[in-house]
């Protein structure tokens, strides 16, 4: 009887010891600020202390880069005297609470540089116009600046390119000065392909070798004309009206055709359309090719074009919604012509709307609509996907293989016979696949360790291309301390951009100060203010604004503090 007690006591003691050790460790981080009552030594009012920042970081599982970079930013901010509570969040919850509900203090996101963002409407208008500051809107920081709004409206509606360009320049200056959501850095992307088997690799803007143009131009060197494309993730859904991920959408662009395509640089070129006629600010007449057939043999006509836009509106396609909402009506005005009528002038109509809306075969979708109803067509898997594009859906075994074959009757023929796309689930498998020769092309970014591994196979060549998107910290101007422009500027100057690039990216990145990529020469403003890493300058910025520090280095608001949301002119 006694001895079992002995064991129990032993266990209990061990447990208590351990938990006390554990607890002190847990508590250690919170204890320091909690003992702030001792701060009576200097005369700072505790109520004046700058509130703690809850900084959301991506989980390590989802993105090690954002995780590590986030930890480094948090450390650096602490050095300035801010209190930072760095928390990891899953993307799903960070996105719902931050991106959508705007309930964050600050969090880090990587925005992708898609081709349709070459026209910087998304960066400059959607992300910063005050109309998008409500829940669900892209103005996540809640940047509200009437001067900026005026410029943004000019930029969005004026069809004159030069006027738009000059507005864009000014807007970038304002953003660099007010830093509502500063870009930090971007990757230098490295795609790999097998140069013994293929040549003429044509990476496109924002997509690298996953671009439509690459699939059109890549040329086999041998008799094996099947391109083995390796990616990390599988495609999910081939329904153009309901798909959400880029991997799906850009695969669909090989199967379906839009009226206009964005070329390797992101500039609109005619595709199904042979002629664009801007009749006035809100009316555009389009002539289409008459030699295109869907994969089931039916000809593609203006009926299908009109149907696509009407149908997307009618069934409320979430994928098309953002693009087609500017359209008032689509009318057939000739054997091969349709006329779009817009509600109001919309500058990126051609580059964004026409390039993103894929033309659907009316005979298939109207039948599906009859059978399934509006919701049904949106939840339909649309297999086999029948479009009119240069590649034809062959088969798809989810998580194993997805195959496209070349459309022999297409007006512009690809050089390859087929694409087999294999998802490898993890980059490690993909890299080994490249080395073994079973993967001939991938748009997955090769990290330094991957490059080392890939070097084993001399046939593998690397294509380098800058990323058009960048890593951004979304501040929230609706909450303190981010409501104050000086705090934001100081915090921005405390982001150790170069250190992150050196340590986390092993040198494979570039600091950025504008959301528009410097390779996007037409829109990029190289002369904006650059709030690069400089802790002294950051302190100075705060000091000049009247911020104070106690003897423990903690940051306090100025006396009689008045918030300055944006830089006064």
């Amino acid at each position: 009887m006694k001895s079992y007690r002995q064991i129990l006591v032993l266990l209990l003691v061990a447990m208590m010891l351990l938990s006390s050790v554990g607890c002190t460790q847990f508590v250690a981080s919170t204890e320091e600020p909690a003992s702030g009552d001792e701060a009576v030594t200097n005369q700072l009012d505790p109520a004046d202390q700058v509130p703690a920042i809850e900084f959301w970081i991506q989980t390590q599982a989802a993105d090690p880069i954002r995780y590590e970079a986030g930890l480094m930013v948090a450390e650096s901010w602490k050095e300035l005297g801010f209190e930072v509570d760095a928390q990891t969040r899953e993307w799903a919850s960070m996105s719902a609470e931050g991106m959508k509900a705007h309930e964050h203090d600050a969090f880090m996101v990587k925005w992708g540089g898609k081709p349709e963002r070459v026209d910087p409407y998304h960066w400059l208008y959607s992300m910063h116009h005050s109309s998008a500051a409500d829940e669900g809107g892209y103005n996540i920081a809640g940047y509200i600046n009437p001067v900026y709004d005026a410029l943004a409206e000019e930029f969005a509606t004026n069809l004159d390119l030069e006027a738009r360009q000059s507005a864009a320049m000014e807007m970038q200056e304002l953003l660099a000065r007010d830093v509502p959501q500063p870009p930090m850095f971007k990757l230098e992307l490295k795609n790999a392909y097998n140069q013994a088997k293929f040549t003429n690799v044509t990476p496109g803007v924002g997509l690298g070798v996953y671009s439509f143009w690459n699939f059109m131009n890549i040329t086999p060197k041998t008799d094996d004309k099947i391109l083995n494309l390796g990616q990390v993730n599988d495609i999910n859904l081939l329904n153009p009206l309901a798909t959400k991920t880029g991997q799906d959408i850009y695969m669909l662009k090989n199967i379906y055709d839009p009226l206009v395509r964005l070329d390797v640089k992101g500039e609109a070129v005619l595709w199904l359309a042979t002629e664009l006629n801007e009749i006035d600010d809100t009316t555009i007449e389009i002539t289409i090719r008459d030699d295109v057939k869907f994969h089931d043999g039916e000809p593609l006509t203006v009926e299908d074009v009109k149907f696509t836009f009407d149908f997307a509106k009618e069934v409320n396609s979430p994928t098309y919604k953002g693009h087609v909402k500017s359209i008032e009506s689509v009318e057939i005005t000739g054997e091969n012509t349709v006329t779009f009528k817009l509600f109001e002038p919309y500058a990126p109509f051609i580059s964004n709307t026409l390039s993103q809306c894929l033309i659907l075969p009316k005979h298939i979708w109207s039948k599906a609509y009859e059978e399934k109803g509006a919701e049904g067509v949106l939840t339909w898997d649309n297999l086999p996907a029948i479009g009119s594009g240069p590649f034809v859906f062959d088969y798809w075994r989810p998580n194993e293989e997805f195959a496209l074959k070349t459309n022999k009757e297409y007006f512009q023929k690809p050089k390859i016979d087929a694409i087999i796309r294999t998802p490898y689930a993890q980059a490690i498998g993909l890299v080994q696949g490249l080395v073994a020769g079973e993967v001939e092309l991938t748009s997955a970014n090769m990290l330094p360790l991957d490059l080392e591994a890939v070097a084993k196979n001399p046939d593998i060549a690397i294509v380098e291309l800058p990323d058009e998107g960048s890593y951004i910290i979304h501040y929230n101007m609706r909450t303190a301390p981010f409501d104050d422009v000086y705090a934001r500027r100081a915090l921005t100057m405390a982001i150790p951009r170069q250190k992150i690039i050196d340590v986390v990216l092993d040198g494979g990145g570039l600091s950025t100060f504008s959301l528009i990529s410097e390779t996007n020469e037409f829109w990029f403003n190289p002369d904006v203010e650059q709030l690069d890493f400089n802790l002294d300058a950051a302190r100075k910025e705060l000091e000049n604004a009247g911020y104070r520090w106690d003897d423990k280095g903690r940051l306090y608001y100025p006396e009689n503090f008045q918030v300055t949301p944006i830089m006064p002119e």
Binding site: A92, E116, P318, T379, E400
Partner: protein, 325 residues
Amino acid sequence: MRLAKYLFKRLIIVFITLFILVSIVFLMFRVIPGDPVSMFIDSGLDAESQQLMMKLYGLDKPIPEQYIIYMKNLFRGDLGNSFTYGKSVVEVISERFLNTLVLTLTSLMIAFTLGIKTGSFLAWHRNSKIDLVGTILALIVRCAPVFWTGMILLSIFAFKLEWLPLGGMTSVGQNFTGFWDKILSLDFLKHLILPAITSALYSMATPTLLMRTSMLEVIKEDYIELAYAKGIPEKKVRRRHAMRTALLPVVTIFAVQAGLAIGGSVLVETVFRWPGMGREIVLAVSSRDYPMAQGAFLFIGFATIVFNLIADVLYAYLDPRVSLG
């Protein structure tokens, strides 16, 4: 007849268990922060499109209503459509489930065949050095984390020696005519070896140790002595009398282990990139594909329960002393 009645009774319990399980999981998913739509804001879903999506997924309705709809559909065998794949959950899952089943059953078969042999061998040589070493070895492999063992085996056999593929289920460009064609192909078997051995190593300890203990107990039984006295050859005594009886608890545990292995398959599937159920559930949870995750959970839970049921029935079948009811 009694079996039928017993099964009926048990099935009702299974039914209730599943009902509770589904309800718990349903509720848990509604309180997970985040939703399946807002994840795609950055790829171009604006506020209006998000709302459309939510409506499309039926997530705009109040939770009790969603629950009732889900339950109604469930009774009709409809687990809904996956948000991610746009296909019916049943369709997607049954395929993944099959992959998981092939892997787990193969590995368990290996584990139990070897485990039973080793266990009875160790018991037969009880108190010898072989017994001690064998027992400790079995304990050690039982304690090594399965994902770690997998990583080590991958490094050695796939990376260093390049004997076997690094992961996945089939090689690129294989054209299979059907399920059986696939799983009987050499290519598939090559991919199967490492993951199957990894999880077999992990699950081998249980049958080995159990068989050993069970055997040790049986060996001491009077009927073994009688069998010898009857002049039955040693081999037959061991096989027919000792092993046959000692197998009872081991065979029972097979079903239980199968249930556990399916639940734990996610680790091996992650390391070996096996397109199975476990990996799907991780994906579904992180992408908030509620119907998919709920369905996967239901499948795994169902499998666990059914395997437990099989274990009980099997035990009763194998051991005439046990009557069901």
